[in-house]
Amino acid sequence: MQRGKGMKFVGDSRVPASGRKPNIPKDYSEYPGKTEAFFPNFLLKEWLVGAVFLVGYLCLTAAHPSPLERLADPTDSGYIPLPDWYFLFLYQLLKYEFVSGDYVVIGIVIIPALSFGALLLAPWLDRGPERRASRRPIASGMMLLAVLAVVYLTWEAVENHDWEAAAEQGEMLDDEAAELAEQVDTEHEGYQIYSDQGCIACHGDQLQGSGAAGPSLFDTQYDVDTIKNIAVEGIGEMPPGLFEGTDEELQILAEYIASGGGAQEGESGEDGASAEDAAGEETTEESDEE
């Protein structure tokens, strides 16, 4: 490279006008072994590996669509939570007696801080010049132990989790199932009684109510016994003596109504919760609206 006075630049820039570096690859014959250039030799091979990997990855994506459960419902306290799998080891660790409850500091601070701290500071903890894993047994042993512990804890968490219940509790209902859940079971014995006894005239063929004549019974807050009572004695504007069947039929009818018309348990999370909140009030949400 030219130096000092007499150097020419491109315009008023600092880029020299001549003597620029020629664009030719390095000579690798002097390098040890079969060293090769990153570009283009090695990059091409890397590209191939990358392409194969990408195909596998896309197959995974196509075969297993990413999951989506139903909309978050903070009031559903019965939900069994589960973090993503790579946090399971910590999640599981905190279930053991001496690292949770009163000792939670051990589980949440001391153990993670020690292990992750050791990981971070590994170069200063293992200072010997030896690189082979077999020649530094303490470091390798500790790492192996840590890996085994993480694998074991993750495994235990997976074992202990009730996957079926978990799949059910978060299930997102597709439109058809959601509609089914909204619909009453008209094949049910109770429905027969419901329509025979004339309840259907005021409370609708889907227990949905019929405006002023009668409120929805679909998610009534009353329990079986109260419903039995109401059917016989009436309530508010509902006249008494409407039910004229046997005690058995009354029982079936009341159970049928209390169960929401035999509707499938589905989006009961929300309904159940709001039912609890509103329990004790005389009217349902539906009759409020009217």
């Binding site: 664009n23 995974l60 994506t61 949440i108 010049p129």
Partner: protein, 224 residues
């Protein structure tokens, strides 16, 4: 044509030294699976990088539809997954990529550890690597909440409870993350979104640059 374009730019910016530096870094025999198949263990770092690039790209596309608020977040994900062309693929790649990247970075860490590549003079690069590992875990944690479905919500509640049980600063951490010492709600979602989409990726990009510059400076660790 291409050559003339290159020369035109090179005359003005003198890019050859930079370009030769990128193209000419040597790949030693012991890390090249083409020569020793067992050297495939040296691929994990590259694959981690590859998946992170995919995560950045797919994530950018996801934000074209995703709405970070508690009313619309769930619906927007559902719409993206169900209605948008290739939405399922893009979300799938981001979802599975999040798991794969953890697997790859774990394998990469083990490779570096068991080949003793973190020893002098590469201590700093190891530290940067472990920091990136933490950032990836953070990205996983914050991203998990964003669809705002049942498992997202309750996993976050548990995560925040864990954070809260840290003595002294626990409540502070929780408030910082969720925007309120008690409520996990609208603020939590926007905070997690910001952390997931701006803070952590920015930190990750910076650390990746440092990681790679250090590798280029020192070269890859020699054979055992």
């Amino acid at each position: 044509m291409l050559q003339r374009l290159y020369d035109w730019v090179d005359e003005r910016l003198d890019i050859t030294p930079i370009w030769r530096d990128v193209a000419d870094h040597e790949v030693p025999e012991h890390v090249n699976p083409a020569h020793h198949f067992s050297a495939f263990v040296y691929c994990f770092g590259g694959l981690t990088f590859f998946i992170i690039v995919i995560q950045f790209l797919s994530g950018m596309f996801l934000t074209m539809y995703y709405v970070p608020d508690i009313v619309n977040a769930y619906e927007s994900v559902k719409y993206l997954q169900g209605e948008v062309a290739f939405g399922m693929i893009v979300r799938g790649m981001h979802h599975w990529g999040a798991s794969l990247v953890i697997v790859m970075v774990f394998l990469h860490t083990l490779r570096v550890f068991f080949t003793g590549a973190y020893k002098k003079p590469r201590e700093l690069n190891w530290v940067v690597g472990v920091l990136m590992f933490f950032i990836l875990m953070g990205l996983g944690f914050t991203g998990y909440l964003l669809p705002w479905d049942m498992k997202a919500y309750f996993a976050t509640v548990v995560g925040l409870q864990m954070a809260e049980s840290v003595p002294i600063i626990g409540t502070l951490i929780k408030t910082l993350l969720s925007g309120d010492p008690e409520i996990v709600g609208a603020q939590t979602l926007t905070r997690f979104f910001a952390i997931h989409v701006f803070f952590l990726p920015a930190a990750l990009l910076g650390l990746m640059a440092v990681h790679f510059i250090m590798i280029r400076r020192q070269g890859i660790a020699g054979p055992l």
